[in-house]
């Protein structure tokens, strides 16, 4: 009897430790706020917030993982914004999908949310932009490659494969695309800078100087 209780106790403690460890080592929070809005945009189905969640200013980026200009912005403008504003807690950023460029775009967006399930949305997001190849639908973002990216990040592949193959986040991506349509976003990347006094739209992969000119007076 005592032996059974001991084994049961060990199992319970093991499960508790595993759950605690998995939550405490997670590098980001999962977006579970179904009522989240930034300005007039419903970002409830968008990415987790990058940066200080209570920052007064938010950049909402609409992008496509196959878009070359999004890639330009990611590599040329975003690092300065991250360094000067996000890492200092002045602003935060939310990514919304406007996955329209090819057949692989919606799947790549869905894959990012499958990675979010395991707490690695932004790592996966970064990996996609760092792995982008010039050809749209050229195979670099097909299902096999998306799974390979997940594997390289050490994600649980059973969970990831089942998430991606089932199209679990198909409607989530469609919702984000719908938000882009409703807010007049006519290309990627498209941005809204949302502050306490309203929101300003910026179209295209604009340089850091433009973001700085808009952000500095708002801070």
């Amino acid at each position: 009897m005592n032996k059974k209780i001991l084994i049961l106790g060990v199992i319970i403690v093991g499960i508790t430790v595993t759950i605690f460890t998995s939550f405490s080592t997670s590098s980001e929070t999962v977006n579970l706020d179904m009522g989240r809005t930034h300005g007039t945009i419903s970002t409830s189905m968008g990415s987790p917030i990058l940066g200080n969640p209570s920052a007064p200013i938010t950049i909402v980026e609409f992008g496509d993982y196959q878009c070359h200009q999004c890639n330009n912005w990611y590599h040329n403008t975003k690092p300065s914004i991250s360094h000067d504003y996000i890492e200092t807690g002045k602003i935060n950023l939310v990514f919304m999908d406007l996955a329209f460029l090819g057949n692989d775009s919606p799947k790549a967006a869905q894959a990012s949310y499958c990675a979010e399930d395991q707490g690695l949305y932004w790592d996966y997001h970064d990996l996609l932009y760092n792995s982008q190849e010039p050809e749209i639908d050229g195979g670099w973002a097909n299902s096999e490659r998306l799974k390979a990216f997940a594997f390289s990040l050490g994600l649980d592949m059973d969970l990831f494969d089942s998430c991606l193959d089932s199209g679990k986040y198909s409607k989530r991506v469609q919702y984000n695309i719908q938000q882009a349509h409703e807010h007049g976003v006519k290309g990627t990347p498209g941005f809204f800078i949302v502050g306490p006094d309203g929101q300003q739209q910026i179209g295209g992969a604009q340089p850091f100087s433009i973001f700085k000119q808009i952000l500095d007076p708002m801070i």
Binding site: G203, A205, Q206
Partner: protein
């Protein structure tokens, strides 16, 4: 060769046409390719790795501004055939639409309006942007030399 150019561009009308073509093509393509932005502030931007694309746009605009007025001159003044005009317009058109349909408003509108056909067209024009522009420049170059040759014959211009 230079005399053929002098003959056409000594007329202020053709010089003006050339300037309008160059300016409108250059500004239009720079806007579509996101080298310049007008809103919220006017700014130019040359991201690393896009220098060759900019060079192709400048060459394309310059060649269009050179070849199209020369052919207009041939047609209106010399009453020549319109065959070479078609070549210059074709070269300018395909060079302009290549890359213009990427992630920007034109590509978005094309895909939103025409669905999968628009998406396929957009993907093709984006994937082959550089080769298409190079072909367009080649077409315009060939058209330029054949136009100069025609002008020499038709106007008895000595090179």
């Amino acid at each position: 060769m230079t005399q053929a150019i002098k003959l056409v561009f000594s007329h202020s009308t053709y010089l003006a046409i050339s300037f309008v073509i160059f300016a409108s093509m250059l500004v239009g393509l720079l806007l579509l390719s996101e080298y310049i932005f007008l809103e919220p502030y006017v700014v130019s931007h040359l991201p690393p790795g896009t220098e060759f694309g900019l060079l192709l746009i400048v060459i394309l605009s310059a060649l269009s501004a050179l070849v199209i007025p020369m052919n207009i001159f041939r047609i209106s003044v010399l009453k020549s055939s319109k065959q070479k005009m078609n070549g210059s317009i074709f070269g300018s058109m395909i060079g302009s639409i290549a890359g213009a349909c990427s992630c920007g408003p034109i590509g978005f509108a094309l895909i939103s309006t025409f669905g999968s056909i628009g998406a396929t067209t957009t993907a093709f024009l984006t994937n082959y942007e550089t080769p298409i522009r190079v072909v367009a420049i080649a077409v315009l170059t060939v058209t330029y030399f054949t136009t100069v040759k025609s002008l020499k014959i038709e106007c008895k211009v000595n090179s």
